[in-house]
Subunit: 339 residues, 2 copies
């Protein structure tokens, strides 16, 4: 004795409806959609006509449930407000789209605790893999990853413990731009840092190493603020830095936002850049090439990181080895007028 039918999702057209309309069985419809070569030409045509005629849209939930594959990838980023991660997302998108995968975006707000919660929450969707920003994560985060045997690729930095990663050496980049300032004759080079996430701290390490090597490191020239960075903050930090150390002759800012704010304030104060004070940023965002004076900075291959990371993840998901488990995409110094 049949019961009251339930509410249907979507427009209500199911694979069975298509099958009936085409005069075949449901499984044949499934094959036409997923492994067309296994179905004979005439049946394939009939089925496709029925699909179009009925406006049939397959249900991902049903497919995921039945096949234990969601064709979905979770992307964990620390912020939606930072162009750097957006361009990475854009790169990821091109690859996943082409492969028929869709991405779920999780924003951790630079918080390891939230990142863990996000992972747990998104696990409900049974993603086939995860793209992760950065290498350091909460202990339960890593544990849950391995518990669920989730293929993962780490982005933006280079791991040395066998985890699959795509990025560049944040430390080496920090050292390289610092050496550039040294090569310009600067000796009292300061560091402005905000947010203080993992990558900023590595750039700081690189800066310190370069100055140590040159014998002119000075701990009193480091200004660090855990708040999110902004141009306003760059301006404020410049004021604080010059008040404390008027002898400072160069500044490496941990990102372009800080640098542009510092640059603008220097202009206001009539400080000669780069003669009296050289300024360098990090990331090479668009405004770096258009501020006054133009900003010396480090160009980072964030879009490519997204592309390569997504490709590597798809291979892991398919049980293959990625081309490289540790892809170093490098960085480029963009030498402009501010140094």
């Amino acid at each position: 004795m049949p019961r009251k039918p339930r509410v249907r999702s979507g427009s209500g057209v199911t694979m069975h409806d298509v099958a009936k309309a085409a005069g075949v069985s449901a499984i044949t419809v499934s094959r036409v959609l997923n492994q067309p070569q296994q179905v004979s030409e005439p049946l394939r045509e009939k089925v496709m006509q029925a699909v179009d005629a009925l406006g049939y849209v397959p249900s991902r939930s049903a497919s995921t449930l039945a096949s234990a594959r969601s064709r979905t990838v979770l992307v964990l980023i620390p912020s939606l407000a930072n162009t750097v991660f957006l361009e990475t997302l854009a790169g990821i998108e091109t690859v996943l789209d082409a492969a028929g995968y869709q991405m779920l975006i999780g924003n951790s707000h630079y918080d390891a605790g939230q990142e863990f919660q996000l992972l747990r929450a998104y696990l409900q969707h049974r993603p086939d893999g995860v793209l992760i920003t950065g290498l350091s994560h909460a202990e339960p985060f890593e544990r849950i990853l391995s518990q669920h045997a989730l293929p993962a690729v780490y982005m933006m930095d280079l791991a040395d413990d066998g985890r699959c990663c795509v990025g560049f050496s944040q430390e080496e980049a920090g050292a390289a731009i610092t050496r550039h300032l040294l090569s310009r004759g600067k000796r009292r080079i300061g560091f402005l840092g905000a947010q203080l996430d993992e990558r900023v701290m590595k750039r700081l390490d690189g800066y310190r190493a370069a100055l140590d090597a040159a014998g002119c490191r000075d701990a009193g020239l480091e200004w660090l603020d855990p708040q999110p960075s902004s141009m306003q903050m760059g301006a404020d930090m410049l004021d604080a830095a010059l008040a404390a150390r008027p002898d400072c002759d160069a500044l490496f800012c941990c990102n372009d936002d800080l640098a542009i704010g510092a640059l603008a304030r220097s202009q206001e104060l009539g400080i000669a850049v780069p003669e009296r004070l050289a300024i360098a940023g990090f990331n090479d965002l668009q405004p770096a090439a258009w501020c006054t004076p133009t900003l010396t900075t480090v160009a980072t291959p964030r879009r490519d990181i997204g592309v390569h990371a997504a490709r590597a993840l798809l291979r892991l998901i398919d049980g293959e080895e990625p081309e490289s488990r540790r892809a170093d995409l490098g960085f480029r110094l963009m030498l402009r007028r501010s140094s």
Copy 2:
């Protein structure tokens, strides 16, 4: 006779496992997770302990399939490379997160055809509703929306046909900034436009209306390029504009990127801004307050648009009426040194 068991998704723990561990039935576990107040205190505790002990993560696919609700919202934006939409996403995220909804992000690349394909593709996830950027869409796009009876909220602009929308009048904003330039004594005010999407064209309409009202509209002062905008393009367009019309005494750029590029080029060329040439942008992105000279522009409430649109959509999904079917969040003129 039982068959070979299938592969399990996730870590393999199901609601039945939890039920067994807690000595209750599966439906009770479901209730503890979804309507806790319907379950007695002691049972609730036992179940929660079992959930934690087993590390159980519910399957969204199974839930969606059984309940015909995905607790998922599709967000359609024209670009992932534009800060404006990111901030909108961030606003949406706060509201959806709090309500236990997750968002699927579809990037149409400013292409109505792709937008339609995206909608079709994401329909596989059976989203409970859609947040849409802009008012103009392909005909099949609107058709599919109504076929599937999908609750929808349109963002960024104001509709006059009863569609639920959250935004501000792009046209009025374009007119307002133009009137400001008029009030500064400018009379040969040019327009620089890129991308030429719906919103840019409405700003252009507003610009034209304001100049018509003042009796000084001049069709020779409009420069339009369908390519995506960039600071480089702003610089190039400034060159072209001044070459064609050296008498031009102000420029309204359709967004801040163009304006900042034009501003930077003006500085290079030694053109006095705003005396000889005033420049205004649109959106008030962060660099607008930090370029030289600072940029006059229109501040748009994009984050709030996201927040309000998401709230309205959740109400529609629940079958209630939103607070307003046409929420005008306004805009603000940011008058700075470039005018």
